[in-house]
Subunit: 217 residues, 2 copies
DNA sequence: AAAGTGGAAATTCTTAACCGTTTTCCGGGA
DNA sequence: TCCCGGAAAACGGTTAAGAATTTCCACTTT
Protein backbone atom coordinates (compact mmCIF):
# COMPACT_ATOMS: atom_id res chain seq x y z
CA UNK A 1 0.00 0.00 0.00
CA UNK A 2 0.94 3.63 -0.57
CA UNK A 3 4.15 2.87 -2.44
CA UNK A 4 4.10 5.26 -5.32
CA UNK A 5 1.24 7.60 -4.66
CA UNK A 6 1.38 11.07 -3.30
CA UNK A 7 -0.60 11.24 -0.14
CA UNK A 8 -1.56 14.38 1.75
CA UNK A 9 -0.24 14.49 5.28
CA UNK A 10 -3.78 14.50 6.64
CA UNK A 11 -4.36 11.09 5.08
CA UNK A 12 -1.12 9.74 6.47
CA UNK A 13 -2.17 10.94 9.90
CA UNK A 14 -5.68 9.57 9.37
CA UNK A 15 -4.44 6.11 8.50
CA UNK A 16 -1.84 6.14 11.25
CA UNK A 17 -4.35 7.04 13.93
CA UNK A 18 -6.98 4.73 12.49
CA UNK A 19 -4.63 1.80 12.56
CA UNK A 20 -3.49 2.63 16.06
CA UNK A 21 -7.08 2.68 17.27
CA UNK A 22 -8.13 -0.52 15.53
CA UNK A 23 -5.00 -2.33 16.70
CA UNK A 24 -5.69 -1.28 20.24
CA UNK A 25 -2.54 0.81 20.58
CA UNK A 26 -4.77 3.69 21.52
CA UNK A 27 -7.16 2.61 24.19
CA UNK A 28 -10.84 3.46 24.26
CA UNK A 29 -11.39 6.64 26.20
CA UNK A 30 -7.85 7.86 25.60
CA UNK A 31 -7.74 11.50 24.63
CA UNK A 32 -6.29 12.66 21.35
CA UNK A 33 -4.73 16.05 21.96
CA UNK A 34 -3.65 18.13 19.03
CA UNK A 35 -0.46 19.54 20.44
CA UNK A 36 0.61 16.17 21.74
CA UNK A 37 0.02 14.53 18.36
CA UNK A 38 1.83 17.44 16.74
CA UNK A 39 4.98 16.41 18.57
CA UNK A 40 4.49 12.68 18.23
CA UNK A 41 3.83 12.73 14.50
CA UNK A 42 5.94 15.69 13.53
CA UNK A 43 3.27 17.58 11.62
CA UNK A 44 1.37 20.72 12.37
CA UNK A 45 -2.12 21.01 13.80
CA UNK A 46 -3.97 21.42 10.53
CA UNK A 47 -3.49 17.90 9.10
CA UNK A 48 -4.11 16.43 12.53
CA UNK A 49 -7.38 18.27 12.94
CA UNK A 50 -8.50 17.20 9.49
CA UNK A 51 -7.63 13.58 10.21
CA UNK A 52 -9.62 13.74 13.41
CA UNK A 53 -12.65 15.04 11.49
CA UNK A 54 -12.60 11.89 9.41
CA UNK A 55 -12.17 9.62 12.39
CA UNK A 56 -15.06 11.48 13.99
CA UNK A 57 -17.38 10.78 11.07
CA UNK A 58 -16.31 7.16 11.08
CA UNK A 59 -17.24 6.90 14.73
CA UNK A 60 -13.78 5.84 15.83
CA UNK A 61 -13.37 8.97 17.95
CA UNK A 62 -15.94 11.02 19.77
CA UNK A 63 -15.78 14.76 20.18
CA UNK A 64 -16.61 16.55 23.38
CA UNK A 65 -17.19 20.22 22.57
CA UNK A 66 -14.34 22.41 23.74
CA UNK A 67 -12.66 19.41 25.25
CA UNK A 68 -11.40 17.58 22.25
CA UNK A 69 -11.31 14.13 20.75
CA UNK A 70 -11.13 10.79 22.48
CA UNK A 71 -11.02 7.22 21.21
CA UNK A 72 -14.58 5.95 21.13
CA UNK A 73 -15.55 3.44 23.74
CA UNK A 74 -17.21 0.34 22.44
CA UNK A 75 -19.93 -1.26 24.45
CA UNK A 76 -21.16 -4.79 24.04
CA UNK A 77 -24.31 -3.40 22.50
CA UNK A 78 -22.28 -1.52 19.90
CA UNK A 79 -20.57 -4.75 18.91
CA UNK A 80 -23.81 -6.66 18.65
CA UNK A 81 -25.30 -3.83 16.61
CA UNK A 82 -22.39 -3.94 14.21
CA UNK A 83 -22.62 -7.71 13.93
CA UNK A 84 -26.34 -7.52 13.25
CA UNK A 85 -25.73 -5.18 10.33
CA UNK A 86 -22.68 -7.05 9.15
CA UNK A 87 -24.59 -10.31 9.11
CA UNK A 88 -27.25 -8.77 6.95
CA UNK A 89 -24.72 -7.34 4.52
CA UNK A 90 -22.78 -10.57 4.34
CA UNK A 91 -26.00 -12.35 3.49
CA UNK A 92 -26.62 -9.86 0.72
CA UNK A 93 -23.05 -10.22 -0.49
CA UNK A 94 -23.14 -13.98 -0.70
CA UNK A 95 -26.47 -13.91 -2.51
CA UNK A 96 -25.18 -11.46 -5.06
CA UNK A 97 -21.96 -13.39 -5.37
CA UNK A 98 -23.96 -16.54 -6.15
CA UNK A 99 -25.26 -14.84 -9.23
CA UNK A 100 -22.28 -12.80 -10.25
CA UNK A 101 -19.08 -14.54 -9.25
CA UNK A 102 -16.81 -15.54 -12.12
CA UNK A 103 -15.09 -18.87 -12.53
CA UNK A 104 -11.72 -17.22 -11.94
CA UNK A 105 -12.94 -15.71 -8.69
CA UNK A 106 -14.16 -19.13 -7.61
CA UNK A 107 -10.67 -20.42 -8.24
CA UNK A 108 -9.22 -17.61 -6.19
CA UNK A 109 -11.64 -18.43 -3.43
CA UNK A 110 -10.59 -22.05 -3.41
CA UNK A 111 -6.93 -21.09 -3.27
CA UNK A 112 -7.61 -18.60 -0.52
CA UNK A 113 -9.34 -21.27 1.49
CA UNK A 114 -6.43 -23.65 1.12
CA UNK A 115 -4.05 -20.97 2.28
CA UNK A 116 -6.35 -20.29 5.19
CA UNK A 117 -6.31 -23.98 6.05
CA UNK A 118 -2.53 -24.12 5.85
CA UNK A 119 -2.05 -21.09 8.05
CA UNK A 120 -4.39 -22.69 10.57
CA UNK A 121 -2.67 -26.05 10.71
CA UNK A 122 0.89 -24.73 10.52
CA UNK A 123 0.30 -22.62 13.59
CA UNK A 124 1.12 -19.29 12.00
CA UNK A 125 0.69 -16.18 14.09
CA UNK A 126 -2.78 -14.84 14.61
CA UNK A 127 -2.48 -11.84 12.34
CA UNK A 128 -1.54 -14.05 9.40
CA UNK A 129 -4.57 -16.22 10.04
CA UNK A 130 -6.82 -13.19 10.35
CA UNK A 131 -5.38 -11.89 7.11
CA UNK A 132 -6.42 -15.04 5.28
CA UNK A 133 -9.83 -15.03 6.85
CA UNK A 134 -10.38 -11.46 5.73
CA UNK A 135 -9.13 -12.35 2.28
CA UNK A 136 -11.69 -15.12 1.90
CA UNK A 137 -14.54 -12.80 2.69
CA UNK A 138 -13.08 -10.01 0.58
CA UNK A 139 -13.10 -12.18 -2.53
CA UNK A 140 -16.80 -12.76 -2.02
CA UNK A 141 -17.45 -9.05 -1.55
CA UNK A 142 -15.49 -8.16 -4.65
CA UNK A 143 -17.52 -10.68 -6.60
CA UNK A 144 -20.69 -8.72 -5.90
CA UNK A 145 -19.41 -5.84 -8.01
CA UNK A 146 -21.17 -3.45 -5.64
CA UNK A 147 -18.61 -0.83 -4.63
CA UNK A 148 -20.81 0.64 -1.97
CA UNK A 149 -21.43 -2.71 -0.36
CA UNK A 150 -17.73 -3.51 -0.42
CA UNK A 151 -16.85 -0.22 1.20
CA UNK A 152 -19.48 -0.47 3.93
CA UNK A 153 -18.86 -4.03 4.92
CA UNK A 154 -15.08 -3.75 4.92
CA UNK A 155 -15.47 -0.78 7.17
CA UNK A 156 -17.61 -2.76 9.59
CA UNK A 157 -15.11 -5.56 9.43
CA UNK A 158 -12.24 -3.26 10.33
CA UNK A 159 -14.11 -1.80 13.24
CA UNK A 160 -14.28 -5.28 14.73
CA UNK A 161 -10.67 -6.15 14.10
CA UNK A 162 -9.71 -6.34 17.74
CA UNK A 163 -12.50 -8.74 18.58
CA UNK A 164 -12.02 -10.83 15.51
CA UNK A 165 -8.45 -11.37 16.68
CA UNK A 166 -9.69 -12.46 20.08
CA UNK A 167 -12.04 -14.85 18.38
CA UNK A 168 -9.18 -16.43 16.42
CA UNK A 169 -7.05 -16.90 19.51
CA UNK A 170 -9.11 -19.93 20.38
CA UNK A 171 -7.86 -22.78 18.17
CA UNK A 172 -10.81 -24.97 19.15
CA UNK A 173 -12.97 -23.05 16.71
CA UNK A 174 -10.68 -23.59 13.72
CA UNK A 175 -12.29 -26.79 12.41
CA UNK A 176 -15.70 -25.20 12.56
CA UNK A 177 -14.62 -22.01 10.82
CA UNK A 178 -12.95 -24.02 8.11
CA UNK A 179 -15.98 -26.19 7.61
CA UNK A 180 -18.20 -23.13 7.36
CA UNK A 181 -15.95 -21.64 4.72
CA UNK A 182 -16.12 -24.91 2.80
CA UNK A 183 -19.90 -24.87 2.96
CA UNK A 184 -20.05 -21.33 1.69
CA UNK A 185 -17.71 -22.09 -1.15
CA UNK A 186 -19.73 -25.16 -2.10
CA UNK A 187 -22.91 -23.11 -2.23
CA UNK A 188 -21.25 -20.50 -4.40
CA UNK A 189 -20.03 -23.15 -6.80
CA UNK A 190 -23.50 -24.59 -7.08
CA UNK A 191 -24.98 -21.08 -7.15
CA UNK A 192 -27.51 -21.89 -4.46
CA UNK A 193 -28.58 -18.55 -3.06
CA UNK A 194 -30.70 -19.68 -0.18
CA UNK A 195 -28.33 -22.28 1.20
CA UNK A 196 -25.43 -19.88 0.82
CA UNK A 197 -27.38 -17.32 2.76
CA UNK A 198 -28.11 -19.78 5.52
CA UNK A 199 -24.49 -20.87 5.63
CA UNK A 200 -23.06 -17.39 6.00
CA UNK A 201 -25.67 -16.59 8.60
CA UNK A 202 -24.54 -19.54 10.67
CA UNK A 203 -20.96 -18.42 10.15
CA UNK A 204 -21.60 -14.95 11.48
CA UNK A 205 -23.91 -16.12 14.24
CA UNK A 206 -21.14 -18.31 15.58
CA UNK A 207 -18.83 -15.31 15.58
CA UNK A 208 -21.42 -13.39 17.55
CA UNK A 209 -21.48 -16.09 20.18
CA UNK A 210 -17.70 -16.19 20.36
CA UNK A 211 -17.45 -12.41 20.68
CA UNK A 212 -20.11 -12.47 23.37
CA UNK A 213 -18.11 -14.97 25.32
CA UNK A 214 -14.90 -13.03 24.82
CA UNK A 215 -16.39 -9.80 26.05
CA UNK A 216 -17.86 -11.20 29.22
CA UNK A 217 -14.40 -11.67 30.71
CA UNK B 1 -32.71 20.34 15.11
CA UNK B 2 -29.83 22.35 16.54
CA UNK B 3 -32.02 24.59 18.66
CA UNK B 4 -30.25 24.69 21.95
CA UNK B 5 -26.92 23.05 21.32
CA UNK B 6 -23.57 24.65 20.83
CA UNK B 7 -22.27 23.72 17.44
CA UNK B 8 -18.76 24.26 16.13
CA UNK B 9 -18.54 26.30 12.94
CA UNK B 10 -17.12 23.32 11.10
CA UNK B 11 -20.32 21.42 11.77
CA UNK B 12 -22.44 24.31 10.63
CA UNK B 13 -20.45 24.43 7.40
CA UNK B 14 -20.63 20.66 7.09
CA UNK B 15 -24.40 20.59 7.38
CA UNK B 16 -24.81 23.59 5.12
CA UNK B 17 -22.72 22.10 2.34
CA UNK B 18 -24.22 18.67 2.84
CA UNK B 19 -27.71 20.00 2.51
CA UNK B 20 -26.79 22.05 -0.54
CA UNK B 21 -25.36 18.99 -2.23
CA UNK B 22 -28.28 16.71 -1.38
CA UNK B 23 -30.78 19.34 -2.43
CA UNK B 24 -29.07 19.73 -5.74
CA UNK B 25 -28.08 23.37 -5.16
CA UNK B 26 -24.53 22.31 -5.77
CA UNK B 27 -24.35 20.29 -8.94
CA UNK B 28 -22.32 17.12 -9.37
CA UNK B 29 -18.89 17.96 -10.65
CA UNK B 30 -19.01 21.49 -9.29
CA UNK B 31 -15.81 22.48 -7.57
CA UNK B 32 -15.72 23.51 -3.94
CA UNK B 33 -13.01 26.12 -3.57
CA UNK B 34 -11.90 27.18 -0.14
CA UNK B 35 -11.49 30.90 -0.75
CA UNK B 36 -14.79 31.08 -2.56
CA UNK B 37 -16.59 29.30 0.28
CA UNK B 38 -14.76 31.54 2.73
CA UNK B 39 -16.50 34.55 1.21
CA UNK B 40 -19.85 32.88 0.70
CA UNK B 41 -20.12 31.47 4.20
CA UNK B 42 -18.27 34.17 6.10
CA UNK B 43 -15.90 31.85 7.94
CA UNK B 44 -12.22 31.20 7.60
CA UNK B 45 -10.59 28.33 5.77
CA UNK B 46 -10.07 26.04 8.74
CA UNK B 47 -13.70 25.11 9.42
CA UNK B 48 -14.33 24.83 5.70
CA UNK B 49 -11.48 22.42 5.21
CA UNK B 50 -12.61 20.34 8.16
CA UNK B 51 -16.14 20.21 6.82
CA UNK B 52 -14.85 19.07 3.45
CA UNK B 53 -12.92 16.26 5.11
CA UNK B 54 -16.16 14.91 6.50
CA UNK B 55 -17.97 15.24 3.21
CA UNK B 56 -15.06 13.44 1.62
CA UNK B 57 -15.38 10.47 3.93
CA UNK B 58 -19.10 10.40 3.35
CA UNK B 59 -18.50 10.18 -0.38
CA UNK B 60 -20.45 13.34 -1.16
CA UNK B 61 -17.35 15.08 -2.50
CA UNK B 62 -14.29 13.67 -4.19
CA UNK B 63 -10.80 15.02 -3.71
CA UNK B 64 -8.23 15.45 -6.42
CA UNK B 65 -4.85 15.97 -4.78
CA UNK B 66 -3.61 19.52 -5.09
CA UNK B 67 -6.68 20.39 -7.08
CA UNK B 68 -9.35 20.41 -4.47
CA UNK B 69 -12.81 19.13 -3.78
CA UNK B 70 -15.70 18.65 -6.16
CA UNK B 71 -19.25 17.43 -5.66
CA UNK B 72 -19.27 13.71 -6.41
CA UNK B 73 -20.88 12.63 -9.61
CA UNK B 74 -23.42 9.85 -9.25
CA UNK B 75 -23.73 7.27 -11.94
CA UNK B 76 -26.72 5.02 -12.47
CA UNK B 77 -24.65 2.15 -11.17
CA UNK B 78 -23.91 4.05 -7.97
CA UNK B 79 -27.61 4.52 -7.43
CA UNK B 80 -28.44 0.90 -8.04
CA UNK B 81 -25.62 -0.12 -5.72
CA UNK B 82 -26.99 2.11 -3.00
CA UNK B 83 -30.50 0.77 -3.50
CA UNK B 84 -29.26 -2.80 -3.36
CA UNK B 85 -27.69 -2.15 0.03
CA UNK B 86 -30.56 -0.05 1.25
CA UNK B 87 -33.05 -2.76 0.37
CA UNK B 88 -31.09 -5.26 2.38
CA UNK B 89 -30.87 -2.96 5.38
CA UNK B 90 -34.55 -2.08 5.19
CA UNK B 91 -35.35 -5.76 5.21
CA UNK B 92 -33.22 -6.20 8.29
CA UNK B 93 -34.83 -3.18 9.91
CA UNK B 94 -38.37 -4.33 9.37
CA UNK B 95 -37.54 -7.81 10.65
CA UNK B 96 -36.00 -6.41 13.79
CA UNK B 97 -38.86 -3.98 14.18
CA UNK B 98 -41.32 -6.86 14.04
CA UNK B 99 -39.78 -8.23 17.17
CA UNK B 100 -38.91 -5.05 18.99
CA UNK B 101 -41.38 -2.32 18.13
CA UNK B 102 -43.43 -1.02 21.04
CA UNK B 103 -47.15 -0.39 21.03
CA UNK B 104 -46.54 3.34 21.27
CA UNK B 105 -44.30 3.25 18.23
CA UNK B 106 -46.97 1.36 16.34
CA UNK B 107 -49.36 4.17 17.21
CA UNK B 108 -46.84 6.70 15.96
CA UNK B 109 -46.47 4.73 12.78
CA UNK B 110 -50.19 4.70 12.21
CA UNK B 111 -50.40 8.44 12.77
CA UNK B 112 -47.45 9.03 10.50
CA UNK B 113 -49.14 7.05 7.78
CA UNK B 114 -52.32 9.05 8.10
CA UNK B 115 -50.36 12.27 7.83
CA UNK B 116 -48.60 10.86 4.81
CA UNK B 117 -51.95 10.04 3.26
CA UNK B 118 -53.28 13.51 3.96
CA UNK B 119 -50.26 15.23 2.49
CA UNK B 120 -50.66 13.08 -0.60
CA UNK B 121 -54.34 13.80 -1.15
CA UNK B 122 -54.23 17.46 -0.19
CA UNK B 123 -51.62 18.10 -2.86
CA UNK B 124 -48.98 19.47 -0.55
CA UNK B 125 -45.62 20.34 -2.00
CA UNK B 126 -43.24 17.55 -2.74
CA UNK B 127 -40.82 18.22 0.09
CA UNK B 128 -43.61 17.93 2.65
CA UNK B 129 -44.63 14.61 1.15
CA UNK B 130 -41.05 13.38 1.13
CA UNK B 131 -40.73 14.47 4.73
CA UNK B 132 -43.67 12.27 5.76
CA UNK B 133 -42.37 9.35 3.74
CA UNK B 134 -39.00 9.61 5.45
CA UNK B 135 -40.72 9.87 8.81
CA UNK B 136 -42.60 6.63 8.25
CA UNK B 137 -39.41 4.73 7.54
CA UNK B 138 -37.54 6.47 10.35
CA UNK B 139 -40.03 5.26 12.93
CA UNK B 140 -39.37 1.71 11.79
CA UNK B 141 -35.62 2.21 11.98
CA UNK B 142 -35.83 3.70 15.43
CA UNK B 143 -37.85 0.70 16.55
CA UNK B 144 -34.93 -1.60 15.78
CA UNK B 145 -32.93 -0.02 18.59
CA UNK B 146 -29.79 -0.54 16.52
CA UNK B 147 -27.98 2.80 16.42
CA UNK B 148 -25.52 1.66 13.81
CA UNK B 149 -28.24 0.46 11.50
CA UNK B 150 -30.14 3.70 11.93
CA UNK B 151 -27.09 5.76 11.12
CA UNK B 152 -26.11 3.75 8.07
CA UNK B 153 -29.51 3.54 6.51
CA UNK B 154 -30.42 7.15 7.09
CA UNK B 155 -27.19 8.06 5.43
CA UNK B 156 -28.02 5.97 2.39
CA UNK B 157 -31.48 7.48 2.37
CA UNK B 158 -30.12 11.00 2.35
CA UNK B 159 -27.74 10.27 -0.45
CA UNK B 160 -30.74 9.39 -2.59
CA UNK B 161 -32.78 12.39 -1.60
CA UNK B 162 -32.69 14.00 -5.03
CA UNK B 163 -33.95 10.88 -6.74
CA UNK B 164 -36.52 10.13 -4.13
CA UNK B 165 -37.96 13.57 -4.85
CA UNK B 166 -38.11 12.77 -8.55
CA UNK B 167 -39.87 9.56 -7.69
CA UNK B 168 -42.50 11.44 -5.72
CA UNK B 169 -43.14 13.92 -8.48
CA UNK B 170 -45.22 11.32 -10.24
CA UNK B 171 -48.64 11.26 -8.49
CA UNK B 172 -49.64 8.07 -10.29
CA UNK B 173 -47.51 6.10 -7.85
CA UNK B 174 -49.15 7.52 -4.73
CA UNK B 175 -51.85 4.87 -4.31
CA UNK B 176 -49.29 2.13 -4.64
CA UNK B 177 -46.86 3.70 -2.18
CA UNK B 178 -49.66 4.17 0.30
CA UNK B 179 -50.84 0.61 -0.07
CA UNK B 180 -47.33 -0.66 0.44
CA UNK B 181 -47.00 1.34 3.63
CA UNK B 182 -50.29 -0.09 4.82
CA UNK B 183 -49.08 -3.60 4.15
CA UNK B 184 -45.88 -3.00 6.04
CA UNK B 185 -47.73 -1.56 9.01
CA UNK B 186 -50.13 -4.50 9.02
CA UNK B 187 -47.24 -6.96 9.09
CA UNK B 188 -45.62 -5.09 11.96
CA UNK B 189 -48.85 -5.13 13.94
CA UNK B 190 -49.15 -8.86 13.42
CA UNK B 191 -45.41 -9.30 13.98
CA UNK B 192 -45.00 -11.37 10.84
CA UNK B 193 -41.34 -11.18 10.00
CA UNK B 194 -41.31 -12.92 6.68
CA UNK B 195 -44.29 -11.16 5.15
CA UNK B 196 -42.98 -7.85 6.41
CA UNK B 197 -39.68 -8.58 4.75
CA UNK B 198 -41.37 -9.40 1.50
CA UNK B 199 -43.51 -6.29 1.68
CA UNK B 200 -40.62 -3.91 2.21
CA UNK B 201 -38.67 -5.63 -0.53
CA UNK B 202 -41.50 -4.98 -2.96
CA UNK B 203 -41.64 -1.41 -1.71
CA UNK B 204 -37.97 -0.78 -2.43
CA UNK B 205 -37.97 -2.73 -5.67
CA UNK B 206 -40.68 -0.48 -6.98
CA UNK B 207 -38.59 2.51 -6.06
CA UNK B 208 -35.69 1.01 -7.95
CA UNK B 209 -37.81 0.71 -11.06
CA UNK B 210 -39.03 4.25 -10.71
CA UNK B 211 -35.53 5.62 -10.23
CA UNK B 212 -34.36 3.63 -13.24
CA UNK B 213 -37.05 5.20 -15.35
CA UNK B 214 -36.29 8.67 -14.00
CA UNK B 215 -32.61 8.39 -14.75
CA UNK B 216 -32.99 7.26 -18.32
CA UNK B 217 -34.26 10.68 -19.36
C1' DA C 1 -3.57 28.54 -38.91
C1' DA C 2 -2.50 24.88 -35.68
C1' DA C 3 0.19 23.26 -32.21
C1' DG C 4 3.41 23.44 -28.74
C1' DT C 5 5.61 26.21 -24.96
C1' DG C 6 6.57 29.42 -21.26
C1' DG C 7 5.10 31.70 -17.56
C1' DA C 8 1.80 34.12 -14.66
C1' DA C 9 -2.20 33.37 -11.81
C1' DA C 10 -4.88 30.53 -8.94
C1' DT C 11 -5.39 26.97 -5.70
C1' DT C 12 -4.16 23.56 -2.49
C1' DC C 13 -1.27 22.00 1.41
C1' DT C 14 1.17 22.91 5.30
C1' DT C 15 3.31 25.61 8.87
C1' DA C 16 3.10 29.14 12.16
C1' DA C 17 1.55 32.66 15.27
C1' DC C 18 -2.18 34.54 17.67
C1' DC C 19 -6.50 35.33 20.47
C1' DG C 20 -10.80 34.33 22.86
C1' DT C 21 -13.20 30.76 25.40
C1' DT C 22 -13.65 26.87 28.04
C1' DT C 23 -12.02 23.25 30.79
C1' DT C 24 -8.77 21.33 34.03
C1' DC C 25 -6.20 21.32 37.87
C1' DC C 26 -3.77 22.71 41.79
C1' DG C 27 -3.06 25.21 45.90
C1' DG C 28 -4.64 28.08 49.55
C1' DG C 29 -8.13 29.49 52.79
C1' DA C 30 -12.52 28.87 55.53
C1' DT D 1 -12.31 18.37 54.65
C1' DC D 2 -14.34 21.05 51.35
C1' DC D 3 -14.72 24.96 48.51
C1' DC D 4 -13.03 28.54 45.77
C1' DG D 5 -10.07 31.18 42.75
C1' DG D 6 -6.76 31.68 39.46
C1' DA D 7 -3.16 29.86 36.44
C1' DA D 8 -2.28 26.59 32.94
C1' DA D 9 -3.82 23.80 29.28
C1' DA D 10 -6.47 22.82 25.40
C1' DC D 11 -9.86 23.72 21.95
C1' DG D 12 -12.00 26.64 18.18
C1' DG D 13 -11.18 29.81 14.96
C1' DT D 14 -8.59 33.58 12.31
C1' DT D 15 -4.89 35.23 9.70
C1' DA D 16 -0.63 35.24 7.15
C1' DA D 17 2.79 33.26 4.47
C1' DG D 18 5.34 30.19 1.52
C1' DA D 19 6.14 25.88 -1.26
C1' DA D 20 4.11 22.84 -4.71
C1' DT D 21 1.09 22.01 -8.21
C1' DT D 22 -2.38 22.84 -11.58
C1' DT D 23 -4.68 25.90 -14.89
C1' DC D 24 -4.88 28.83 -18.40
C1' DC D 25 -3.63 32.27 -21.63
C1' DA D 26 -0.69 34.51 -24.68
C1' DC D 27 3.22 33.94 -27.47
C1' DT D 28 6.24 31.59 -30.45
C1' DT D 29 7.24 28.17 -33.84
C1' DT D 30 6.32 25.38 -37.68
Amino acid sequence: MTINEYMPLRDVVFHTLRRAILMGELEPGERLMELQLTEKLGVSRTPIREAIRKLELEGLVVMVPRKGAAVAKITEKDLLDVLEVRCSLEELAVELACERISEEALQLLENSMKEFQESLSSGKDITAIAEKDVQFHDIIFEATGNRRLIQMVSNLQEQMYRYRIEHLKNPDTYPQILQEHEEILACLVKRERETARAAIRRHITNQVEEVRRTIQD
